[in-house]
């Protein structure tokens, strides 16, 4: 029998609600993004308020698009962690309410693991190295010894945050699109006018780990020294993305895996995808860059991961649905992957 699940995600600046069935069909997948004022960063409480104001609207929209009523839902899935506490609480409260009202099972899903699982579904992958790049995370995640383990990550700020802060310092207007996209546009502008002159910036790779804070400081300084801002954007992108590609490459080489997936908000950047694609080719690996709706924070990944967990026999009491701000992927028992894991051992 086909199951229908709702997935609610609100771990950071985005609220996502999706309806997905157990055949892996996404029947609805909507996202609404909280926008701090121009020049400001995300304030968790304000973001949470935005999510709370919109969650019922988005749930109703999803049900309507999927052409079902809430009574047709078999599973209620929500992001339990990791993420910003006040934001997570919104998806958790909404899910608890639905679960109690409809008397349907509730499932708390790990955000990072869900990113990888939706990537495997959409990209038809078995065992990828996942580069997860967003405003809140920069991690290389892969299956090892029965868990999704973080092979490498940023030692200070995430890449998305690096691009955001740089853009804010430059007073870029990001009211229409994410800051990362604005920085990419400037970099492309530099290319078009022949300003793709590379300025050396700190390039920091330590094993599988990376660091962006020195790069950010130096890029801001470079722009303030009078170098045209589009040239700085070009150099910043080239440097930051080369670092990310290199740690992904290190993980491919170290594990010998043959699939590469990029997910998270920054995965929308076409320059980054191009670099990863070319790198994967050197290693004879299959590369998948996801379409934006399933690459960014979204409800579909939560619903899909919830379905996988439910089908593998996971059950959860409503008392065990407290949010977990610092829930790391390696803490998640991958019961739905038991066969794959046993095959590997």
């Amino acid at each position: 029998m086909t199951l229908i699940a709702i997935g609610i995600e609100s771990s950071a600046d985005k609220l996502g609600v999706a309806i997905v069935n157990s055949d892996g069909e996404i029947l609805a997948n909507n996202v609404k993004t909280y926008k701090p004022g121009i020049g400001k960063g995300v304030i968790p409480r304000d973001a949470a308020e935005h999510h709370a104001d919109n969650v019922s609207k988005l749930i109703n929209l999803g049900l309507k698009q999927a052409n079902i009523t809430s009574a047709d839902l078999d599973l209620i899935c929500f992001t339990q962690g990791s993420g910003m506490g006040p934001c997570l609480r919104v998806d958790a409260v909404a899910a608890r309410t639905l679960a109690v009202k409809l008397n349907k099972p509730i499932i708390g899903v790990n955000h990072q693991v869900a990113h990888v699982e939706i990537g495997k579904l959409i990209g038809q992958l078995d065992d990828p190295i996942a580069l997860y790049v967003s405003g809140g995370n920069s991690q290389v995640i892969a299956l090892a010894e029965g868990r999704y383990r973080v092979f490498g990550e940023t030692l200070d700020i995430p890449i998305g945050n690096c691009l955001d802060v740089f853009g804010r310092e430059m007073q870029f207007d990001n009211s229409e699109k994410p800051m990362g996209a604005v920085v990419e546009e400037y970099a492309n502008m530099a290319k078009e006018r022949g300003g793709d002159i590379f300025h050396e910036l700190p390039y920091t790779v330590k094993g599988f780990d990376i660091s962006f804070s020195g790069l950010l400081t130096a890029a801001i300084k470079l722009a303030k020294s009078g170098i045209p801002v589009d040239e700085v954007c070009f150099s910043l992108q080239e440097t930051a993305f080369a670092m990310l590609t290199e740690v992904a490459e290190r993980a491919l080489a170290h594990t010998g895996k043959k699939e590469l997936l990029v997910c998270g908000g920054v995965a929308a950047n076409s320059r980054l995808k191009k670099m990863l694609e070319q790198m994967a080719e050197i290693h004879g690996a299959k590369f998948v860059g996801l379409p934006a709706p399933v690459a960014i924070d979204n409800g579909a990944m939560i619903a899909w991961n919830g379905i996988l967990m439910h089908q593998a026999g996971h059950t959860q009491n409503i008392e065990d649905t407290l949010v977990r701000q610092r829930w790391r992927p390696e803490e998640v028992e991958l019961i739905w992957l038991e066969n794959e894991i046993n095959n590997l051992i």
Binding site: E145, D156, I157, E238, T245
Partner: protein, 211 residues
Amino acid sequence: MNKLPCLDIEYGDTIALGAEARTYYATFLGYDVVVKHRFAKKYRAEAIDNLLRKNRSIQEVRLLHLARKIGVRVPFVLDIDKIAWKIIQERILGVPLKDRMNNVEVNFNKVGEYMALLHENNIIHGDLTTSNILLDEEDNIWFIDFGLGYISTQIEDKAVDILVLKHTLTSSHNALLDIAFNAFIKGYSINKEHKSIIKRMEKVEERIRYT
């Protein structure tokens, strides 16, 4: 048969297509050597690629030399090709530690002792993974792949150097994490600054988890 501009090398099989380089077996004057070729990577801007290949090759040779001088087992460098960026080095008859995770306590204790020595001499390895530590037939520990290394007196740099090893153990050898890392720490404690370095490492770990 390929010829280098510097050495008359006879090429053998590729050992590894690593993250940075292609590594070959070869012979020179009848000696077994390894050629590490940092070939051009088209995926990144040429300027970055040239800089990285140059800096890392030079740094690697420099640090291999320094490490050898203080008595740490590292391959001897015969030559460097500064056009193609190839390093020709002594071939170690050993296997990467990641493929020989038995006798973990003894081996990681030794790794810790040598790392203490490297750090006391302000040599940061920069890529301390179990792919870059070799174990020979007499159970000697050899360090290779210093391309991400550098010289630093900073506690933070030494702390992060060790954290890289811990991360590799966590991700790739999780079942042996505690026993391997504790043995490492034990060996490392011959470093006069070990307490503040390990404390800093724990701080960095916390910082990563809490951002």
